[in-house]
């Protein structure tokens, strides 16, 4: 295991840093060596990617905070336009090192302004002699902003002529970022997923103070045994660990088992965890409901999850409309005559064909249906006579707002509108009953 060593920083700080970022030592030392000393110019842009919750943001933040490097940390999802993003960077920059009065409103409309204001800010804050780090979290959002933003950030050092490094954090690979016109290639760094051993180590790290570390580690071991197959997300696992720990402790609290009695504890918790996997993990029931359930020791069968309420109550004609839309979307036009006319011709001959068609149609997905055809099928499947009243038409639109139908191609009002049925066969079956 490589110990963190760097001439520029005191050993104590590095040691603290190491304890804060378990299992990421190699990445941290890599970053440190790239960063160099405070006043040294470093690589203009660094691109860090890795799967969800592989510690990118956390490592970056702790690294910059513990070493007290001047930095700006911005989430690109939150600042959804380039203007907001740039302004946010400038505001943070004004606040970051100085104790001066809170920043006044900054107006920055484009990158040109940004470069100018950025230079000003850096001089104002006396940061010329240090490397300034700008961390852009969730950098994949940058691709959706104006085309110049990403390349400009990548070579911000060159543009501003200041000692600045831009760090991009994202979950996708660099190849998906590279604009057509070409740009400055950043230094690419990969954060691999945590292995099960890493997860064990990290999760056991923050054990509650009332219980010993070993006890908690055993619990984490059991938890990982159940959940590792389905979930490797550290955050989610942490959440689950916190939720289920009290249940695990129950026998100990009641005095039925001591902390060493792992087997007994395992027997107690295992079915419980499996239940949790089916419910809480899928967000079928919320975590607060889960906690209450634990508290009451009730049966989770009473609490119905979100998917249990799948049944939708629809008005009479809406049901038929939806069924008609479904039939129209999945059956080809030429079969209409055969299916919906009272006196259709031969049907036995094409029986096999029909079956074949149906499967392929379901694989192909729904096709758009003109309104007239939809209504014609509706009239033929409803037993009684239906008047084409305004209510029927308004029901079609309300079905569209409910996302059960969808409108296809709405360029012309006069052109007969075309609809698509977006619900599944199971849904239709449930309705048709």
């Amino acid at each position: 295991m490589p110990n963190l060593e760097h001439p520029a920083y005191p050993a104590a700080t590095l040691l603290r840093l190491e304890s804060l970022v378990p299992c990421r030592e190699s990445q941290v030392s890599m970053l440190l060596s790239i960063f160099g000393e405070r006043e040294q110019f470093t690589f203009p842009s660094i691109f860090i990617y890795g799967h969800t919750s592989s510690g990118k943001t956390y490592v970056m933040r702790t690294l910059l905070n513990t070493l007290q490097l001047p930095h700006v940390f911005v989430n690109c999802v939150e600042h959804f336009t380039s203007r907001l993003l740039l302004e946010e960077i400038l505001i943070q920059l004004q606040n970051c090192s100085s104790e001066t009065t809170p920043a006044s409103r900054v107006l920055c409309d484009n990158f040109n302004d940004f470069v100018r204001l950025f230079k000003q800010a850096v001089t104002n804050q006396d940061l010329q002699d240090q490397t300034l780090y700008i961390v852009l979290d969730r950098a994949e959002q940058l691709r959706e902003m104006e085309a110049n933003i990403l390349p400009a950030f990548l070579r911000l050092q060159e543009l501003t002529d200041r000692n600045v490094t831009v760090v991009l954090l994202t979950e996708i690979v660099w190849e998906l970022f590279r604009p057509n016109t070409g740009c400055f290639e950043p230094l690419i760094l990969y954060f691999p997923d945590y292995s099960i051993g890493h997860l064990q180590k990290i999760l056991s790290n923050n054990h509650p103070p009332e219980y010993s570390a070993d006890f908690y580690a055993a619990y984490i071991n059991i938890l990982l045994g159940v959940f590792y197959m389905v979930c490797r997300d550290l955050k989610e696992l942490q959440h689950l660990a916190a939720l289920n720990f009290s249940k695990y402790c129950e026998p100990v609290v009641r005095g039925e088992a001591n902390e060493r009695d792992t087997r007994k504890l395992w027997k107690n918790i295992e079915p419980h965890l499996k239940k949790a996997m089916q419910t809480v993990y899928l967000r079928e029931i919320s975590s607060s409901q889960w906690e209450r359930l634990q508290h009451d020791d009730g049966d989770p069968g009473q609490l119905k999850g979100l998917s249990a309420h799948a049944h939708v109550e629809l008005p009479y004609y809406s049901k038929f409309l939806l069924i008609a839309a479904y039939l129209a979307s999945y059956n080809p036009v030429r079969t209409d005559k055969r299916f919906f006319l009272k006196h259709h011709g031969k049907i036995k001959k094409t029986n096999f064909m029909k079956k074949h068609e149906k499967t392929s149609n379901h694989l192909l997905g729904p096709k758009p249906v003109p309104l007239d055809r939809l209504l014609a099928i509706l009239y033929s499947i409803v037993d009684s006579r239906v008047a084409p009243t305004a209510n029927i038409f308004s029901q079609i639109t309300s079905l569209v707002t409910l996302q059960l139908l969808s409108l296809v191609g709405h360029n012309d009002q006069l052109d007969g509108p075309r609809y698509k049925c977006t619900v599944s066969l199971d849904f239709i079956r449930a309705i048709a009953r």
């Binding site: 600042h79 955050k235 975590s287 996302q403």
Partner: protein, 655 residues
């Protein structure tokens, strides 16, 4: 009219109380959630509201009111159509939040200025700043504000309501949730999703990485059908309102509700329309009010109004059933008429008073029968009773027969329910009924006691016969058993028959359909066809009749035609329309024009010379073009690219 206003108020109260019930639970949760802010999950509530989208507005309105009164002043509701992007969403959110704050104390002029400044920058940070500002302010506020802040929580959460979750684009929701989860520590947000279809939509809209940020709890509001039945219960099945609906009208309203939109809102609107229509079209509707008021009004009736009463068919029937002297008196003297009317109105009132409890009682019996021969809901029963003499229908026969086969415990509980209904109702005539029912109950109890006694007596007999031989013992026991069973059954059965007969007699006495009552026209709104026309609009048919038969709307004698032929006096557009009906999918403009000109010049044909008709007149050409473009505007045709000089028809058939 004031009755209507009163009724509106009642609707609203009703609705709000209904909401309170369904959301009181929710409020408790909201307070609990504030304690759970430590985690990164955003508390969220999923309200499943059912597909009646039109009702949702009102629901949300009262929900916001409730929340504002009890939990937090910061409530915003967002609609999908306002938020196509995350930017618009934030703008809307901030605008609403800051406005509602301004509403809270509108005296501060500085705040307003600040707000307009803030609107330039709509981001989460400014929102958080704003939130910190106001929470600080409320903390340092003078004690005069303490009353409100004590009612709210220490740090009031910000509630964001997404009115129609289905219509939001996935990206906007995702982004918003991710952003707010970043700031949940600084800004306690609570999300409420209004869901019309099923909660599955959350999973289909949000990926797991986002939904894991939410702590969703599900709340199901009452289904709209139940809601409807409570409203019918409160409105139609009471004596508080004099206005009643006849069977057909009620059927139309319920059909619209069940077949079309499930919207209680629309049902109420339809009901209001009925009220307006009734008071507008029926001259005698002045008498449609509370009994005392009506009696007063009867005294001040004018002669013409009396004549109106005499013309009522139900009153005529009544007159004809009287003796000849009285007939003359009723038909000639206004005073005797007024007296009679007062008496009749009183009768009607008493009839209503008696009708409802008996109906409820019958419903108690029929609703538990297998297969529901008389309908599951009380509204179906109500309709059946209004329609005709209910005891003459087959369903009633079968339900009585089924009732005769009920077991004892059910019967007893039903009888108890009936007693409750009758006791709670105000009718004076029901004292006897209640007594009778109680008597039945007592008899049942006695019967039970008798059974036990008999059972007790058996072992003693057994002991007596112990000494005789086994065969004899068996035989006698069997006999005993047999006799006991038949005896008990007959006793119980007899009682059961009695009960059912009694109910039957009640029904025959009190559930007479309203049309058989004299003067029912005053209280009952009867023209279902008008209502159907108003509520169930048929635009295509209306358009077709307007174009096909212009007389229907224009009322011009010249336009009165006998259908088949096309008259040249009709407006141009009608002629063009009729001609276009005869064509196929693609219409040749030249042919159409020719046909048009022949029709228009048909009258001038005989005396006009051939040279003119050979070439189409410029004016006729212009008129034709105008008619065609009008048809295009109405959406009957559109220019087609398939063939030159052709237009495509957009409608099929003739309606």
């Amino acid at each position: 009219q004031q009755i209507q206003e009163e009724m509106n108020k009642q609707f609203f109260d009703n609705l709000v109380s209904f909401l309170r019930r369904s959301h009181s639970e929710f409020q408790e949760k909201a307070t609990e959630w504030t304690c759970r802010m430590k985690s990164r999950e955003i508390p969220a509530a999923a309200l499943v509201l059912g597909v009646n989208v039109t009702d949702h507005d009102l629901t949300f309105k009262s929900l916001t009111e409730v929340i504002q009164n009890n939990i937090t002043p910061y409530v915003t509701s967002l609609q999908a159509k306002d938020c196509p992007g995350i930017k618009n969403l934030m703008q809307k959110l901030m605008g609403q939040l800051m406005n509602c704050y301004v509403d809270a104390d509108s005296s501060d002029e500085e705040d307003c200025a600040q707000i307009s400044q803030n609107r330039v920058r709509c981001s989460m940070t400014s929102l958080i700043n704003w939130y910190e500002n106001i929470t600080k302010k409320t903390d340092s506020e003078t004690p005069s504000r303490k009353r409100t802040s004590s009612r709210h929580l220490q740090s009031p959460p910000v509630v964001v309501i997404f009115k129609d979750m289905e219509s939001f684009t996935t990206k906007v929701l995702q982004d918003f949730i991710v952003i707010s989860s970043q700031h949940i520590h600084e800004l306690p947000l609570i999300l409420i999703f209004g869901i019309a279809t099923s909660p599955m939509i959350i999973h289909s809209l949000l990926p797991h990485s986002v939904s894991s940020l939410l702590c969703i709890e599900l709340f199901q509001s009452l289904s709209c059908k139940e809601h409807l039945s409570t409203i019918i219960d409160k409105l139609l099945l009471t004596t508080r309102f004099a206005f009643k609906l006849s069977e057909k009208v009620l059927q139309v309203l319920i059909n619209i509700f069940l077949y079309h939109d499930f919207s209680v809102q629309n049902f109420i609107k339809g009901f209001q329309l009925c009220i307006v229509e009734h008071f507008y079209s029926q001259p005698l509707s002045v008498l449609c009010c509370q009994l005392l008021e009506a009696k007063k009004r009867v005294n001040s009736l004018s002669h013409s109004q009396c004549e109106n009463i005499r013309r009522l068919p139900s009153f005529r029937r009544y007159v004809e059933s009287q003796e000849s002297e009285k007939q003359i008196a009723l038909l000639t003297s206004d005073n005797s008429l007024k007296e009679a009317v007062q008496k009749l109105l009183e009768d009607l009132h008493i009839y209503h008073e008696n009708y409802v409890p008996v109906l409820k009682c019958l419903h108690v019996f029929t609703s538990s029968l297998p297969k529901y021969p008389l309908g599951k809901q009380i509204r179906e029963l109500h309709c059946a009773c209004l329609e005709s003499r209910v005891w003459e229908t087959e369903d009633y026969e079968s339900s009585l027969q089924l009732a005769r086969m009920l077991n004892k415990s059910d019967l007893v509980t039903m009888l108890q329910k009936c007693v409750e209904i009758f006791v709670s109702s105000s009718g004076k005539e029901f004292d006897k009924v209640v007594e009778k029912l109680k008597d039945f109950l007592a008899q049942f109890e006695k019967l039970e006691g008798a059974c036990q006694e008999q059972e007790e007596s058996i072992p003693s007999q057994k002991e007596l016969q112990k000494k005789t031989d086994l065969y004899h013992l068996q035989k006698t026991l069997l006999e005993l058993k047999e006799s006991r069973r038949s005896k008990k059954l007959t006793k119980f059965e007899m009682l059961r028959f009695e009960v059912v007969d009694f109910i039957d007699s009640l029904v025959r006495n009190y559930l007479v359909p309203a049309d058989h009552k004299t003067l029912h026209e005053i209280m009952y709104f009867n023209t279902a066809s008008a209502l159907r026309e108003h509520l169930n609009a048929a635009p295509r048919i209306a358009l077709h009749t307007a174009l096909n038969n212009p007389y229907c709307y224009l009322k011009n004698q010249a336009l009165k035609s006998d259908g088949g032929s096309i008259s040249n006096k009709a407006p141009d557009i009608c002629i063009a329309y009729k001609l276009h009906l005869e064509c196929g999918r693609l219409i040749n403009l030249v042919d159409w024009l020719e046909a048009f000109s022949t029709v228009v010049t048909a009258v001038e044909g005989p005396n006009g010379d051939a040279a003119v008709s050979d070439q189409v007149d410029d004016i006729i050409h212009a008129r034709f073009i105008r008619a065609v473009s009008e048809l295009e505007l109405l959406g009957f045709i559109k220019p087609s690219k398939q063939k030159t000089d052709h237009v495509a028809r957009l409608t099929w058939g003739s309606c």
